[in-house]
Structures are given as structure tokens and as C-alpha cells.
Amino acid sequence: MRLEEKRLGLDRPFVVRSFLFLRNALTLRLGFAERMVSDAGSRQVRLIILERLPTTLLLFGTADLLLFFLSVFVALVLSRQYGSFWDRVFVALSPTSAAPGWFYGIFLILIFASWLRILPFGDLVDVPPPESRVLYALSVLKHMILPTMAIILSAIFISVYSWRTFFLIYSSEDYVELARAKGLSGRTIERRYILRPTLPTIITSFALMVISLWTGAPIFETVFNWPGLGRTLFQAIGLFDIPVIVGSTVIFAYLLAITVFLLDILYALVDPRVRIGGGHKQ
């Protein structure tokens, strides 16, 4: 009993213990689960999480990238035809982005899985999983369609709306006017004089959006029965498995930090003004 108390650090004062826990969490020494077991049979929280992390990254990474490029493209097209029918449609639909992804997920499942029966309800792969790698990948892809659609659907209207507004603001800059006077083609102007200067702003707004999408992961993955980190957290809460809950939360915090960090690096790449050492003369 004494030994166990010492091992868990319960013989130290509360404040010291808190810092010890914090250190352990930050260094990813996440301890052992109370009830949950990883698919490989381990009780280590770290292994449980590592097993689930790739699927989450796969789903959210794909959806976020698609969302980004699709939104940029649509926003550019709409900024060109400001005030047109489709422009107004997107502006009118932007409040729908207030609802989270799983909300649309439920409807997509109803329509495509339950009613039309062309796409699976959820899960990562077919049961039983296909033998060959190609078929396995295709099956995963098929299962990703609905969740990806749900994520995109939940965020595209607001992002297109705000980005098309950014494009409109930036396209009234003097250098865009001058680019037109220079006799550059419409495509060049759009790419080099509207998209490029707007990218930093867009990346900032995208970073915020990605973070808000991460926070929706637990319920989202539960709705789609997607064996990712979010569903693990949800299950852990159901089982009251505190080490797993803490571990997942820590990993989510790390994911957020990494996302922001990567986007910051990207920011420096697209905007020379924020490069360190580049701003020696203002």
C-alpha cells in the first residue's frame, strides 16, 4: 500500500503533485488506463491513443485540406461575380455554419446510408476488412466520403463568405488597379495580386476554423463511429476512465498547438512582412 502511494506520488503535497502530473502529461507519460484496452491489448494510455491518432489525422487532415482549396476556389469565383445569384446563395447560407459537423453528419447518414443505401453508415472499413491493400484503401476512402462531406458542409459557407469578402477588400487595393493598368491578364491579377496578398489573412481565418473543427471531433467521430481519438475520448468519458480522458485532452492540446505552429510557419512563407530578419527596415 505504501509503495503504491509512493509510486503514484500521493505522499507529496497537492501543489507538488499537480506539477508532477503536468510534467508527466507534457512529456506524454500518460500512465495506464483503468478500464480501456487498446486493440493490441495494451493498457497503456499512450498506446491506446497512438493507435487511434492516425485515423483522426487522416479524416480531419483530408477534410481540412479539401475545405481549404474548395473554399479558396469558390470564394475567388464569387468575388469575381459579386452580387450574383450564387454569391447571394452563399451569403444567405453562411449562418448554417453555426451548426457543427455532426449535425449535418446525421442528415447525410439518413440520406445516403439509410435511404439511398449507397454509402456506409460509419466505421473505418467494411466488415470483414478486405485482404488486399488496394481494396482496403478504397474501402476506407468510401467510408470517408460522408464524414468529409459533413465537415466541409458545416464550414464551407462561412469560409467562402468571409474569404470572398477578403478578396473583395483586397481587390480594391491600388496595386490591383495598377496591375490592371499594366495589362496583365485576369488570371495573373487574380493569382499574384489578389490571392497572394490575401493568403495571410485567409490562413489566419483557416487556422481558427481548423481549431474549431478539432474541438468538434469527439461527437463527430461518435456519430460516424469513426475509430479515432475523438471517439476514444467519448468512450473514456462514458467509462469514466480518467487516465484516458486526461491523455486524450493532452493530445488534443498538442494537436492544436502543432496546427497553429505549422500555420505560423506557412504564414511566414507567404508573407515576407512577418519573416524574422526580413523586417529590418520598416
Binding site: 496595386y175 493598368a181 491578364s185 512582412r273
Partner: protein
């Protein structure tokens, strides 16, 4: 024959915009000709349509255009007849380039200035990136920007440097006409003088023509060979600089000149009472009539353009001295 002495010939140019309050008559029936290798200053108060005139010449129109008609001939070629793509490809920056108002904001903040200066050459002259940069380097030397600045971004340059970069950009394709839209209004006097001297040297060496749009009479007098005065969307006087600065014809020009401070002499500076008429609903007669000290009965009718010793003036005072010839057959002779 006659036309080809002019680099630019504008006839009855109209540019109206639609706004919520009504139709703005920004450029209202403007006609003038520019001789080759000359510098013409367009003077006028803020909001009199100077910049709109520049945009109309380059066909840089915003979305809310109501009317855009008239004749613009460049080296004798009617460019109004060209379609948008041809105009973009063959006129913009190839034959007319422009130094914009507030060059502070005229450069793309995320591209190197070298790329931006080389870009028109690469697009229009079909040169490679290396050749384009070489041309940009030459232009930088020409306007007095250190070559190392080619690799810099606009935010690393001072205001005067950016203005020079903008001029280098306008020169890189050696156009026959450069429109300078208040190129020095944001700069200190020393930099202004420096840039004006650079512009003069460029004009002598390259044989290009300038349209200099400004409200700064003092600075522009140095460069100007011809002066056009705009008032409420119309050109009210066009004269050669020597005549204009000594004896302006139009009452508005006279008042304008009287408002310029002089080093010698004790006269108090004058200003013109009242404000320019709204371009939404300009008065039917002479547009300056309500502020004009020399106004008489006839001013209720719109004055035609009178030709007087090679000058053009839109004022009833010159009804008897001047003649009513069509502008196309008339040339302004410089008096040396």
C-alpha cells in the same frame, strides 16, 4: 498627317458613373491633343475629374460606369475601337503606362519589387525572367534606386524609393505616353524636386510624353510645357506653360494662379469663394459662373471652346477674340 504629330488626341470624352445619389459626370466632354515628347500638366481642384480622366484614357473603369464614350487616338490610331483583350495586350503599358497616385500602396506587398518591375516586360515584350530583371536593373539605375533593392519587398523601401520604383515600372516597356497621377504629392519637397528632375531627364533621353495630373502648381511648373485646367469635369483652358503661368486666360485659371504663394511680392494669397459644383447635377450654363468674379449675362449658357492664338479656353469672355474651329485641326504652338 496632322494627327501623327500628336501622341494622344482625345475628343469628346465622356465618363459618367452611377452612384446611389445619381449619375456623376466625372469627365464631361473633354477634348485635347498632346504633342509628341511633351509634358502636359492637368491642374484642378480635388474631385474635378482629373484622375477619372486618367482612368478613362487607360480604360480602367470601375463597375459602376454609366457612360464611356468619345474618341481616343494614340499615335493616330483610334484605341476606343479596340476590344478589351486587344487593348490590354497592345495598349496598356506597351504604349501608355502610368505612375499611380500614392505609390505607397501601388506595389504588391508580398512580391519582390524586381519581379514587379520586370513583370510588364515579361508579359508584353515576351522576355525571359533574367532579361526582365536585367531591364528592371537598368531602369533602377536610371531612376536612381540602388540595384540591390530589386530583391527587396515594398515594405522595406521608403516613400521616395517606392515612387522611383513605380516610375521605373512605368518606364520598363518604353511607352510613348506616361500618365503620372499626383506622383509626388505624398513626398517631402527635396524628394519631389529630385523626382521632378529625374522625370525631366527621362523625357529628354527617351522621347516619351507625360501627362502630369496634380494640384500642386508650384512643383509642376518646373516640368510643364503645356497646361490644361480642369474644372467640374471639363477642361476650361489649355495653354502652353509660358503663357499660362504669366497670363492665364480663364477666370478660374487666373484665380488658381493667384492662390499660389510667390517668394517675391507682397500680395496676399487669394482663394476662390464658394465650392466647385456637384458633379451629380452641374449647372446648365458655365460651371464656374457662380464663383466667377467676371460673370455676365451670357454665362447662363454653356460656353463653347474658343481657340485663341493656339490656346483653348472655354469662356464667353473670349467670344470675340477667339475662333470656333474644331479642335482636331488646331495645334498649340509652343512659344519659346
Amino acid at each position: 498627317m496632322m494627327k501623327n504629330e500628336h501622341v494622344l488626341h482625345v475628343e469628346d470624352l465622356y465618363l459618367y458613373f452611377v452612384t446611389k445619389k445619381g449619375i456623376v459626370q466625372a469627365v464631361d466632354g473633354v477634348s485635347f491633343s498632346l504633342p509628341r515628347n511633351s509634358a502636359t500638366v492637368i491642374l484642378g481642384e480635388s474631385g474635378c475629374g482629373k484622375s477619372s480622366l486618367a482612368r478613362a484614357i487607360l480604360r480602367l473603369l470601375p463597375r459602376n460606369v454609366h457612360t464611356y464614350t468619345g474618341k481616343i487616338a494614340l499615335d493616330g490610331q483610334n484605341v476606343m475601337a479596340l476590344d478589351e483583350d486587344t487593348f490590354r495586350d497592345q495598349i496598356r503599358w506597351v504604349r501608355i503606362s502610368m505612375v499611380p497616385q500614392a505609390a505607397m500602396n501601388a506595389l504588391n506587398p508580398v512580391l519582390r519589387v524586381g519581379d514587379q518591375v520586370a513583370e510588364p516586360a515579361m508579359v508584353h515584350l515576351g522576355v525571359t525572367k533574367e532579361e526582365g530583371w536585367e531591364m528592371a536593373r537598368r531602369m533602377f539605375r536610371y531612376v536612381g534606386v540602388p540595384e540591390g533593392f530589386l530583391n527587396r519587398y515594398p515594405f522595406e523601401l521608403s516613400g521616395g524609393m517606392r515612387q522611383r520604383v513605380a516610375i521605373a515600372m512605368a518606364l520598363v516597356t518604353s511607352p510613348s505616353l506616361i500618365i503620372l497621377d499626383e506622383p509626388t504629392s505624398a513626398l517631402d519637397v527635396l524628394t519631389q524636386a529630385n523626382i521632378m528632375n529625374t522625370l525631366k531627364r527621362i523625357k529628354q533621353e527617351t522621347g516619351t510624353s507625360y501627362i502630369l495630373i496634380t494640384h500642386d502648381i508650384a512643383t509642376s511648373s518646373d516640368l510643364a510645357e503645356y497646361v490644361a485646367v480642369m474644372y467640374a469635369g471639363q477642361i476650361v483652358e489649355m495653354n502652353n506653360a509660358a503663357n499660362f503661368f504669366s497670363q492665364p486666360l480663364h477666370p478660374y485659371s487666373q484665380k488658381l494662379m493667384a492662390s499660389v504663394p510667390r517668394l517675391h511680392g507682397k500680395q496676399t494669397l487669394e482663394f476662390i469663394p464658394g465650392r466647385p459644383p456637384s458633379l451629380l447635377s452641374p449647372p446648365s450654363g458655365c460651371r464656374f459662373a457662380s464663383r466667377c468674379p467676371l460673370r455676365f449675362d451670357k454665362c447662363d449658357q454653356d460656353p463653347p471652346t474658343f481657340h485663341l492664338n493656339g490656346s483653348i479656353v472655354k469662356c464667353w469672355l473670349y467670344e470675340h477674340e477667339g475662333t470656333l474651329t474644331t479642335p482636331a485641326s488646331e495645334t498649340i504652338q509652343p512659344e519659346e
